[in-house]
């Protein structure tokens, strides 16, 4: 199967006052076309930073220090990390989009739902909208009306807009009161798309919800709106960063069912970041386990639950509470990434650690078919 996204030896460091945090230390990851990859790990293991690096949105004082991120976009392959900001802005929202953890924090409280969701259409689908507006204008012009003069003017403006949406003349026009009323047609046209996509999110009464402000929405509804914003332009890759952590189980079940349905409908690949192993088992095709800035194991979801090879993965799976059994724990704590352990980063907590583990860092190798592990216990990793 074709790879949609390939991360190679990605390194991200944060330059803080306390020292250099090696948040991501050589992550290798590939996401295939049409699959759902679960990225699992504890707090602070670098799951979210990995996803932000894919969008080239790592916040200061963080810096992407090395590696490559190859994305198959709608217009061919692209190396993301070396692109200019203008190119990246075209890609964000169109080819890759992201759902953040807290839906309320991702929505602007002073704009209505329709205004916020339509933004993505203005940014990436302006030409298409212009075409539809022009068609509407032609229709209006064919009727006899005293407004014909205004319509003709508007037609001129929209023709200009469809040629170059960012021209300086339009920018000035949009600032002049009364004259900028020409934008209403564009907004109305985008509004239709908004209602359509809200309907796809199974939001009851989408026309009414589109006119609401974020504070009027419940948590589950707000998350649906955010998903609608993310899927507006039918992106090839959807990154979901713990989208259901703040929601109740029943609402979580609704959102998971929705994501499951939508990925079929939009044919998107999903990078699903979570720490909930239950959600991963329900939703994902493959799983990548992260620990302290490394991807330590990648395998098919069935394989990883049945036959976890890395000691951290098996410890993580055993720490899931199951009735009737004693809770197994992982001794020790996640190491500080300012001074991470030498060699394998899991070695101080690992029960099977050997001399070699505290000296040399293992590499991610294919130990069984489609089952990658980064551990000295398996031959191949200790090259």
């Amino acid at each position: 199967m074709k790879n949609l996204l390939t991360l190679k030896d990605l390194v991200v460091k944060f330059y803080t006052y306390e020292g250099v945090v090696e948040a991501i230390d050589g992550v290798n990851l590939n996401l295939r076309d049409g699959e759902t990859l679960g990225l699992v790990g504890e707090t602070g293991c670098g799951k979210s930073v990995t996803s932000l690096a894919v969008l080239v949105l790592v916040p200061a004082p963080g810096k992407i220090e090395g590696g490559s991120a190859l994305l198959a976009t709608k217009k061919g392959n692209l190396e993301l990390l070396s692109q200019k900001e203008a190119v990246l802005q075209k890609i964000r929202g169109d080819d890759i989009s992201m759902i953040f953890q807290d839906p309320r924090a991702s929505l602007n409280p002073v704009f209505t739902v329709a205004e916020q969701v339509s933004e993505v259409f203005f940014l990436h689908r302006k030409e298409e909208l212009c075409k539809r507006v022009l068609a509407g204008l032609e229709n209006d012009l064919s009727k006899r009306s005293w407004k014909r003069l205004i319509y003709k003017l508007e037609r001129n403006i929209y023709k200009k807009m469809s040629e170059n949406p960012n021209s300086w003349r339009l920018r000035i026009l949009s600032k002049i009161p009364i004259v900028n009323r020409y934008q209403l047609r564009l907004k109305k046209e985008a509004g239709k798309d908004v209602v359509k996509i809200l309907g796809l999110m199974k939001i009851p009464d989408p026309e009414r919800v589109a006119e609401m402000y974020p504070h009027e929405l419940s948590g589950g509804m707000a998350q649906r709106i955010v998903i609608a914003m993310a899927l507006g332009c039918n992106p090839g890759l959807l990154i979901a960063d713990e989208p259901t952590t703040n929601l109740d189980v029943t609402i979580q079940a609704q959102i998971l069912a929705l994501i499951r349905e939508l990925r079929e409908e939009f044919k998107s690949s999903v990078l699903y970041i979570t720490h909930d192993l239950g959600v991963v088992a329900e939703l994902c095709d493959r799983v990548a386990v992260m620990y302290a800035g490394n991807v330590v194991e990648i395998a098919d979801v069935m394989e990883i639950y049945k036959n976890p090879l890395h000691p951290y993965t098996s410890a993580l799976l055993e720490s899931i509470p199951r009735p009737g059994k004693e809770f197994k724990t992982i001794e020790g704590e996640v190491p500080s990434l300012i001074s991470p352990p030498i060699g394998c980063r899991f070695n101080p907590r690992c029960t099977k650690a050997t001399e070699l583990c505290s000296q040399q860092k293992p590499t991610l190798e294919e130990v069984e078919k489609d089952h990658f592990v980064m551990c000295h216990l398996y031959p191949g990793s200790s090259k």
């Binding site: 504890e42 707090t43 419940s218 589950g220 509804m221 109740d248 189980v249 029943t250 609402i251 979580q252 079940a253 609704q254 998971l256 069912a257 720490h275 909930d276 192993l277 239950g278 959600v279 991963v280 088992a281 329900e282 979801v301 069935m302 639950y305 410890a315 993580l316 799976l317 720490s319 899931i320 509470p321 199951r322 009735p323 004693e326 809770f327 197994k328 724990t329 992982i330 704590e333 996640v334």
Partner: protein, 349 residues
């Protein structure tokens, strides 16, 4: 067996104010007529969605909220409870009733008596980062209940603090540190030490594991179980994490919109939830096993506002099996088989 803690018709309403003069315009019925019994040494799990009143119930039981109505009995003899309910129904001898309630009913306690009763009951909050004062040393945080309750002084207090810190897995070295120097799991341990320092018999655990990671969560759950065995504690474990509750609780109550809808021994409830809401709730837990992946129908809609809950059974607008009677009449919590209580018209009849 006599109940260690019993609530009878417990209600907690929060006033909603509005208008220029901040007049009361309605009530948020956070806890509405909840009656349950907890046995000594038991871990009672309370589950439900956010906003269903489970935390408010926990806080009301230990009198951090003053209940709007109802009784809370803490280790009170059965005949006294009967006497009170008898006096109440006859609505005479109000002086005698008042006297009895002042002595036995926690909801009527005041002043010094309430304060000394609080020695017996403690709470561990959800987020240890916000429940520990960032400007206090660990020795002061853990020792504070002893000062407030005037229990131990000087060297004795220090010894007790060290003893309890050791018990929760911390050492003497940690005494002179501030909360920010600890990890999330350790902070929660400090909060547990603070709760246990006065030797309480009853501890409310208000989602104590929701802010920590999977591996730390298992450590904390082990600690809770060990402490319970060792000190004979009674827990009220409030959580929305159903898999944790399944592992730690002996009995579980399911709350919906301020009402207790089902109450049963853990294994029985998880195997066969009877109330339609409990059924939907348990069906929506993701199972960490990809071979058991299932296509299920998630519960439709969202929790209605507790300011004006739907008439009749509060679950009826979301219930697929709702009948005519569900919209008119509120179902009572009845015992359907050996300690399995359900409040549903479909199952009662």
């Amino acid at each position: 067996m006599s109940a260690f803690i019993e609530t009878v018709g417990l209600k907690k309403y929060f006033a909603v104010t509005g208008g220029v003069f901040r007049r009361k315009v309605g009530d948020v019925r956070a806890v509405d007529d909840v009656g349950l019994r907890m046995m000594k040494g038991e871990c009672f799990g309370l589950v439900g969605e956010s906003g269903c009143g489970k935390t408010t119930f926990g806080k009301t039981v230990i009198r951090l909220h003053k209940p709007t109505a109802g009784h809370i009995y803490f280790n009170a003899p059965d005949d006294i409870k009967e006497e009170i309910s008898k006096l109440e129904s006859s609505s005479q001898n109000s002086n005698e009733l008042k006297e009895l309630r002042k002595r036995y009913d926690l909801s009527a306690f005041k002043g010094q008596r309430l304060k000394s009763a609080r020695k017996q009951m403690q709470i561990v909050y959800q987020d240890p980062t916000t429940s520990l004062n960032p400007r206090m040393l660990i020795k002061d945080i853990v020792g504070e209940p002893l000062i407030v309750q005037k229990l131990l002084k000087g060297e004795e207090r220090r010894k007790r603090v060290i003893q309890i810190l050791n018990r929760v897995g911390l050492t003497e070295r940690h005494l002179y540190r501030y909360p920010h120097e600890f990890s999330g799991g350790q902070r929660q341990r400090i909060a547990i030490a603070r709760a246990l320092v006065t030797n309480p018999e009853f501890v409310v655990l208000d989602e104590p594991t929701s802010s920590v990671d999977v591996s730390v969560r298992a450590q904390l759950l082990n600690l809770f179980q060990d402490l319970q065995k060792e000190l004979g504690l009674t827990y009220l474990f409030v959580s929305h994490d159903l898999s944790v509750v399944e592992c730690i609780s002996h009995r579980v109550g399911v709350m919906y919109l301020g009402k207790l809808v089902e109450l049963a021994p853990t294994a029985e409830l998880y195997r066969e939830p009877l109330h339609p809401y409990a059924h939907a709730l348990f069906a929506s837990i993701p199972i960490p096993d990809p071979t058991k992946r299932r296509r299920r129908l998630p519960l439709k809609g969202e929790v209605p506002s507790p300011v004006n809950p739907p008439p009749g059974c509060r679950f009826n607008p979301r219930c697929e099996k709702a009948l005519e009677i569900c919209r008119r009449e509120e179902p009572k919590l009845v015992d359907v088989r050996n300690g399995h209580f359900v409040a549903c018209h479909l199952i009662g009849s």
